[in-house]
């Protein structure tokens, strides 16, 4: 078979084809548009520099309380390289449900992705982002040197904390509150020499009668004898 047979109907013969190449104007000879997108794929003014800024968001996810759900959620975040500040988890009033509270530091499109990717996981029931006025709290347990017990006690009271353990060499206290308060308290305790710290990360609920995740319904924990000391649950209209 001759080479001519290769180029019947459809593709015209191109005698000018360079070896290892194709016909047509080269990259510089082609017209190129002025437009540009930023790293997030958003069309922007080509003159202006516009990279999206990071912000902190609190995301709450209602999930089915089943084995593996936490590893699925944390795996999602590490795989997709999301910036997670903290992640807390615990059961809710509905049997079989748990709430995961995440603090993320991302750009707006990033936060949007966090919420959408979370919502895709099968055990995730609802995802919501909390407003700035949400009720948030964090707990820190701090162990400091015990040489100045009175001063430690004074600072603990100032931050409405509690002493959990006091000995001749160490004092351990607990402080709860929002992130700023905890940071300030830790700063204040530094003067005594902090030996160890354990922080929980933030957990949060929406303020007032707004559900924390959209459409979230308060549930009723099973009233069985074993669970008689269970917290009573109500509805938003109570």
């Amino acid at each position: 078979m001759s080479s001519d047979d290769a180029s019947d109907e459809g593709s015209e013969p191109h005698p000018e084809i360079p070896r290892n190449g194709m016909p047509g104007p080269s990259p510089d000879e082609r017209p190129h548009p002025e437009g540009r997108r930023n790293a997030k794929g958003i069309r922007i003014d080509p003159e202006a520099e516009a990279e999206p800024e990071h912000r902190t968001a609190v995301v709450s996810a209602l999930v089915e309380h089943e084995p593996g759900v936490l590893s699925r959620v944390s795996g999602l975040f590490s795989r997709r390289q999301f910036n997670i500040e903290s992640l807390t988890v615990g059961p809710t009033t509905v049997e079989g449900h748990a709430r995961i509270t995440l603090v993320v530091e991302e750009t707006d499109p990033g936060i949007d992705q966090v919420k959408k990717q979370l919502a895709k996981l099968k055990p995730v029931i609802q995802v919501g982002e909390l407003d700035d006025d949400a009720v948030r709290a964090e707990l820190v347990v701090l162990k400091v040197r015990g040489e100045e017990p009175d001063k430690v006690q004074a600072i603990t009271e100032m931050y409405e904390g509690r002493t959990l353990d006091a000995g001749p060499r160490t004092i351990t206290v607990q402080i709860t509150g929002d992130q700023q308060k905890i940071d300030d308290a830790i700063d204040a305790f530094r003067q005594f020499g902090i030996i160890e710290i354990a922080r929980t990360g933030q957990t949060a609920l929406a303020r007032g009668d707004t559900p924390t995740t959209p459409g979230e319904e308060p549930g009723h924990a099973k009233d069985t004898d074993e669970q008689s000391d269970e917290v009573k649950t109500g509805t938003y209209d109570d």
Binding site: M1, S2, S3, A6, S7, G10, S11, E12, H14, I17, P18, R19, N20, G21, M22, P23, G24, P25, S26, P27, R30, P31, H32, P33, E34, G35, R36, R37, N38, A39, K40, G41, I42, R43, E64, P67, G68, S71, R72, G75, L76, R79, P109, D112, Q113, K116, Q117, A119, K120, L121, K122, P123, V124, I125
Partner: protein, 581 residues
């Protein structure tokens, strides 16, 4: 006992209850049957034996593969061609880990697939028992969802749910890990109908306001371009998508997974865009003012650098997965919903078509300026593109093509004219060498009897899974494998020449065995071609052979794939030869 209780059983009733479920393994098989599975691909082993034992009495077709990776790829390709989830099976430990590549491949390409893996008995889980692997842990990031089935009474429903979930909304692979005590345990729990879980809700019907806004944007566009993604094929929306393009005179580019969604010989079709896509598709993407993307995730092999992607375009993005909206490229007009439904709604909402006469002639001009072409001098070694064209001419329009990964894959995509969806079966997102042969097996079983199946493979890719030829021989599957043998892992050599000063480290494959003889050793037909004038006869002989045939085409080892958008580059700046990179 109530009045409505059945009468005391006699012999006939006993026979009937015998057909019911008695063990967890039987529940698994019953669930597959009632979900509509027909064919399973797998390999036996200790922890999965109870399930295989239950298959003994079932009408489900089981195809034993030579390697579990082959089982996963075959199931994947079976799903792509048939439109139903493919099913693969493996034992615990190495069986399960051998499936991993195929599961990851299906995940990246959003292919519906169900993987069933055996597991050590529950009480031994976590003890590093013989052939134990944390399969749900290993596969969590590469499955749509996976299950550890610890209860014989619910295992059937779990398998049904896995089957339904894999196909629902945006498809993807699901996995059920089956500890041996679950499958051996007695149960009479018949699985119910296969249903997706309540927490997985899909919005099929897009929002009115979204549709309206998108329709207005399309109407006023001067240079609109449709970009069909794999989602168009997966949601069987090709008819609606083509109709929309033709009715409104809008040119169409596709992504690689969407090859065949638009007939490539139609005047509006610009073929596929991206790294090795056509120059004209990439020019159209660069200059469009309104990109209507349907069912695509804007992979970087398509977009190049996002900064320069469709820089002038407002983007309408139709997708069933809300998480794809504005993930890589910001959508000015998001439309969340099923592709077919969304396109029909957009069409109904449009009061007029955009004025595209000039734009269409511009696209035609680009087609003339940048044709896919190659030189075929008589005194040079055989060109691979010529082989692809020869097969295309010798086969019917609905022939199915599968491929490995590398240069041959690109030539198979470029130089074959695809006209129908589900005729192009390839590994896109993961780019898995070795996909071609097992995929041809899965495709062959799913395709109609009169559809031909041709696998274009590279010498490197073929080496990775060619043991599956033995399966094609045993099952007497009529497939043709065309090895485009350049004695290199060619795509790597091409990059080394272009970006690593020609230092061809570990790219040389001149140590490959003679594939025609290997094929014969497996019991298949083996042919070898070195020159242009042998091509036509070999193609005919291989296609006519009733059973698996392997043709080892010794092609020009120096041939490279162009056009090429260098990674992270601008689509409109594709190189036409190495000196332009």
């Amino acid at each position: 006992m109530s009045e409505h209780a059945p009468p005391k059983s006699d012999a006939a009733d006993d026979a009937e209850t015998d057909t019911g479920v008695e063990t967890g393994a039987e529940a698994v098989v019953a669930a597959l049957e009632s979900a509509g599975a027909e064919t399973l691909f797998g390999v036996q082993g200790g922890a999965i034996m109870p399930v295989y034992d239950a298959l003994y009495d079932s009408d489900l077709q089981h195809v034993t593969m030579a390697h579990e990776q082959g089982a996963a790829h075959a199931a994947d390709a079976y799903g792509v061609v048939s439109g139903e989830p493919g099913v693969c099976l493996a034992t615990s430990g190495p069986g399960a880990t051998n499936l991993v590549t195929g599961i990851a491949d299906a995940d990246m390409d959003s292919d519906a697939m169900v993987a069933l893996t055996g597991q050590v008995p529950s009480h031994m889980v976590g003890s590093d028992a013989f052939q134990e692997t944390d399969t749900t842990g290993v596969t969590a990031p590469i499955t749509k969802h996976n299950y550890f089935a610890g209860d014989a009474d619910t295992v059937g429903d779990t398998v049904g749910e896995a089957f339904a979930l894999s196909a629902e909304g945006r498809p993807g692979p699901t996995l059920v890990d089956l500890p041996k005590d679950t499958t051996l345990a007695e149960t009479d729990a018949e699985p119910g109908p296969a249903e997706t879980p309540e927490t997985y809700s899909v919005e099929e019907d897009p929002d009115d306001e979204q549709v309206e806004a998108a329709a207005r944007a399309i109407e006023r566009a001067e240079k609109p371009l449709l970009l069909f993604g794999g989602g168009v094929v997966k949601s069987d929306a090709c008819k609606e998508a083509r109709g929309f393009a033709m009715e409104h005179g809008i040119p169409v580019a596709t992504t690689m997974p969407a090859i065949g969604s638009m007939p490539e010989d139609h005047e509006l079709c610009l073929s596929w865009a991206g790294m090795h896509g056509t120059g004209y598709a990439n020019m159209a993407i660069t200059h469009t003012d309104c990109l209507i993307a349907v069912g695509t995730r804007f992979d970087d092999r398509l977009t190049g650098g996002v900064e320069t992607f469709a820089p002038e375009a407002e983007v309408v993005h139709v997708d069933i997965d809300p998480a794809e909206i504005s993930k890589n490229v910001h959508a000015d007009y998001p439309v969340v919903g099923d592709a077919a439904t969304a396109i029909e709604r957009l069409d109904a909402e449009m009061d007029r078509s955009p004025q595209t006469r000039e734009w269409r002639s511009q696209c035609r001009a680009w087609k003339d300026e940048y044709p896919l072409a190659y030189a075929t001098p008589d005194d040079e070694p055989l060109k691979p593109q010529f082989v692809v064209e020869a097969f295309d001419e010798a086969t019917d329009d609905d022939a199915v093509v599968t491929t490995g990964v590398g240069q041959h894959q690109m030539w198979a995509a470029q130089f074959w004219t695809y006209r129908s969806p589900r005729t192009w079966v390839s590994s896109h997102g993961l780019g898995t060498m070795g996909y071609g042969v097992p995929a041809a097996i899965g495709a062959r079983i799913a395709a109609d009897d009169d559809q031909q199946v041709v696998c274009f493979d590279g010498d490197g890719s073929f080496l990775m899974t060619m043991q599956e030829i033995s399966v094609a021989v045993r099952e007497d599957l009529d497939i043709t494998v065309a090895v485009l043998n350049n004695r290199y892992i060619g795509m790597v050599r091409q990059w080394q020449d272009a970006f690593f000063d020609g230092r061809q480290m570990a790219a040389d494959y001149d140590w490959c065995p003679e594939f025609d003889k290997l094929a014969e050793a497996f019991g298949a037909k083996g042919l070898r071609v070195d020159d242009y004038d042998e091509v036509a006869d070999a193609v005919e002989e291989a296609l006519e052979y009733d059973g698996p045939a392997v043709v080892d085409f010794h092609i020009d080892p120096a041939e490279n794939v162009y056009p090429m958008v260098p990674s992270g580059g601008a689509n409109g700046k594709f190189a036409l030869s190495e000196d332009q990179l």
